[in-house]
Symmetry: none
Subunit: 530 residues, 2 copies
């Protein structure tokens, strides 16, 4: 069977996307996820260009990767320097990786107009750099920048670049559609021409400026390339890179190219959402394969057809990519969802469906007010418990007051600069009322501190619970600062993690609700486990 | 030159997209815009399915369209009814349009499993319905549903549908990839097979489930279809329809098919944004051709190349589609970006670069504290102005206090339920101090109200400024509620829009900074324009 190498550049080219910035820790986490997905090569960054990437490669050496090989990126040597004296190449050679990719120019006009050197000097830069890195035992891929545009203007020079790279020992030459404007039939024709002059393994690096990055990548695979570069969710400069979340299932499910295993493919949706969370971009609901709408059905006709024949209105089984079908506005499937979910949580709802129907109504009402339970299963489980008449909450919120103040002349305490955030809370446990106050470095932090302070006296074990993530989403965005706000909180006790949700037009109230759910959920779990 | 008919179904299939709902007025406005863009056919809705669409076609008769023909959509007659007795066909014939499209099944399995009738009855339904509509003087297009999937399972039946439709007088048969999972080479092969049995004009209707809708559409055009169906921004069920905002420029600028005029193409970005505004969806910044990031440049290397040679890093001249290039300022960028950007804003920085270097240091410092300027150009412009020794800000923030309170027994005023948010602000204009207070439905809204209240006395024209978007990003997510918060605000005065940023560990302070920048920027622009 045909083998295709998947090469991910989310951490390097993907980070060129507008609004994307990864910390070193983010990059390490994403690397781990890409390894689970079975990506063959992970381009981690450009150690010659910034200290953050140097640090990444240092720390990445302690990662245990099962499927992936880490790649460092750089450029060919500078103009009129010896490769041995080039700091960028040295950084590549010292990155602690076995595989490197260097970018070189392969378009006549780019060489003369942008690099401002001779065509021969550019060829030497490519050959010298590959030679230097190969001599140090590294596998070397050449990203041939602007290859397709260059070929269209002067095919012989672009072809010469491929030949020179192959002669210098490049392990693959990756043809880049850097400006993203090439059409699929041009991709095919150019690759056919390259095949005639060299049998070096080829790769494809496509951008999405004509909305054709995925199609161009598949056309290149059909024309015989063996390496496919892209990014998770198609993140990247301008309109982005080829989207691996579409390329991978297209290759595997449509073209029968078994690039990752079935189990790995089933992680695709999870990996896509994980990367968008880390990039702090809202996942695109309409994304092929992995979007939350990708298998959703709105039309009543489609829904009734689906019940007759599951494949009637979907092109694949969504579970193959770890996604699931969603029927929008359908009471019946909704009730079944509730029963199914409750069962998952160990709560058996009678199949008669009366309780489930009531819960469904409540979920619908709360979701119409901005709550969302899909990502906040702890809040959903509390909803199930609270519906039981015998449920006794471990505490009750009575009320709170919050003061946030900014004064030109700050108060006496210097460490908080000019800002003061102070929360006063009242909570009830059994028949006792606890009334206390705390400061924080922001209003939500102050509320969190005050609430814990009040509850710790009753539940000292709460000290091990901490917030690990706090997210805010503004709903109905066009209403500006008056819109509905959804807060999602992730908490951990060092062993398990759980997520809760709050919603209100008031961000403070939304946070308060999610905070309280988090602590109530944990206390409830402790009681159940005893 | 080859003629291609553009057929827009934003108002019908596009409205099946999750979260999209158009009012009759919305539809009328969008129709007008599509006419300006030069779309040949506009599918307005399904008069047989709902009263809103009946009303749309009634009102649309008073529109004056210069380029477009309105189309009503429906289905073939019901099972075992006479076409003359079919309410749905009657509604089509009475819609007051000259062109209708009807959808019919063209897949054996869909007929037997979903429609649950015989293959012959389905052929009669198609023939009868076309005959009925043609007899009433209408131009009739047939949407052959599930054509490609049907062809793969049983080619002869799908081909028979095309023949029957052609014999019945259909003016075009539109081959639909209803489930969106077909690959470009399959599209080509199937259309070649259809061409062998019939010379009826063909159309293509593609969905994006494999991220190939645009590529499939172009493949169909290459194979000889003459009608192209799609939606603005690719809106539509699941992953959406073929995106006309990419198909049109791909056809015109890449394939040389002159489907609309140069002047019309230059309206593409405007139409795209207009439709997303009406659909109440945030425009996708990364959209090919029309996205705000489509011609943006972040890397310092690219920016310096752009200054040497404009086409070096862009595939077309953005003005051809009514878009523009943008240089992003960020910690990744160099001094050159700052100089370029300042020039764009009409501020010449000396090329010596001392000022630019100082500004770059400042940007880097602020970005390390959580600010981000690439999406907040108004805040960046203020940074440039504030660096000038002679700059006089239109107002100064002195201080504020904010109280958020939740009481079990709410205060006397019932309309705010249990929550109170009240802001007290002090601002200075010239030598005057304004000290005032306001309530809001959340803390940021209260601050916004109080700040405006204070400033309106000095600057009554500020009344026309309103917030149109408010976004919150939590940075360094693992720190929980103590993390850095970035607030991005988009404002509008009804003519222009601008974006500002604030950052702090305190969400209130971050919002306060972004709010103040928004108002200061607008006041500054007013002064400059005078």
């Amino acid at each position: 069977m045909r083998q295709i190498q998947l090469y991910d550049t989310t951490l390097r080219d993907g980070a060129q996307g507008e609004g994307i910035s990864f910390s070193v820790v983010d990059k390490l986490h994403i690397t781990q996820k890409l390894d689970e997905l079975g990506i063959h090569f992970i381009e981690g960054g450009w150690p010659g260009s910034n200290p953050k990437d140097v640090e990444f490669f240092k720390k990445a050496q302690s990662l245990t990767l099962s499927h992936s090989t880490l790649v460092a990126f750089g450029s060919t040597r500078r103009l009129k320097t010896k490769a041995e004296a080039d700091a960028n190449l040295l950084a590549l050679a010292s990155a602690g990786v076995k595989v490197v990719t260097i970018v070189g120019k392969s378009s006549e006009l780019q060489v003369t107009q942008v690099l401002e050197t001779t065509l021969d000097e550019n060829l030497s830069m490519i050959a010298d750099s590959i030679g230097y890195l190969r001599a140090r035992g590294l596998t070397v891929f050449l990203d041939a920048e602007h290859f397709f545009d260059g070929f269209k203007a002067n095919p012989s020079y672009s072809l010469r670049v491929v030949e020179v790279a192959a002669e210098a020992g490049a392990d693959a030459v990756v043809l880049c559609d850097t400006n993203g404007g090439t059409m699929p039939d041009e991709i095919t024709a150019v690759i056919n021409a390259v095949r005639k002059v060299s049998d070096v393994p080829l790769g494809i690096h496509a951008h999405n400026d004509g909305e054709l990055a995925v199609a161009n990548t598949l056309a290149a695979v059909n024309a015989g390339v063996t390496q496919v570069q892209g990014t998770i969710n198609g993140y990247g400069e301008r309109c982005g890179n080829a989207n691996l979340c579409s390329v991978i299932p297209d290759l595997k499910l449509k073209m029968g190219i078994n690039c990752i295993s079935d189990e790995q493919l089933a992680k695709l949706t999870e990996v896509s959402h994980y990367v968008s969370e880390v990039a702090n971009l809202i996942p695109d609901a309409f994304s092929p394969y992995v979007g939350s709408s990708a298998f959703s059905h709105k039309g009543g006709l489609h829904v009734s057809a689906l019940r007759k024949w599951a494949e009637s209105y979907q092109h694949i089984d969504p579970t193959q990519v770890g996604n699931k079908p969603r029927v929008l506005v359908s009471e019946l499937s909704g009730k079944e969802n509730i029963i199914y979910k409750a069962k998952e949580m160990g709560l058996d709802l009678p199949p008669s469906g009366k309780e489930a129907r009531k819960l469904l109504e409540q979920v619908k009402l709360l979701e119409s007010r901005g709550f969302q339970y899909e990502n906040a299963e702890a809040s959903f489980e509390l909803l199930l418990h609270r519906a039981k008449p015998e449920y006794q909450p471990p505490f009750e919120l009575v009320d709170f007051m919050l003061v946030v103040e900014k004064r030109r002349r700050p108060p006496t305490r210097k460490n908080i600069e000019e800002m003061l955030s102070e929360a006063v809370v009242k909570v009830k446990v059994g028949n006792e009322i606890m009334h206390t106050a705390a400061e924080g470095n922001g209003p939500v932090n102050a509320l969190d501190e005050a609430l814990r302070k009040a509850l710790l006296q009753f539940y000292p074990s709460l000290a091990q619970v901490r917030l690990v993530d706090y997210k805010v989403r503004i709903l109905e965005e066009s209403v500006g600062t008056g819109s509905q706000v959804r807060v999602l909180i992730e908490s951990s006790d060092g062993v398990e993690e759980w997520r809760t949700v709050g919603s209100s037009t008031n961000i403070i109230e939304a946070s308060w609700l999610a905070l309280a759910d988090s602590l109530e959920y944990w206390l409830l779990k402790q009681k159940t486990n005893k």
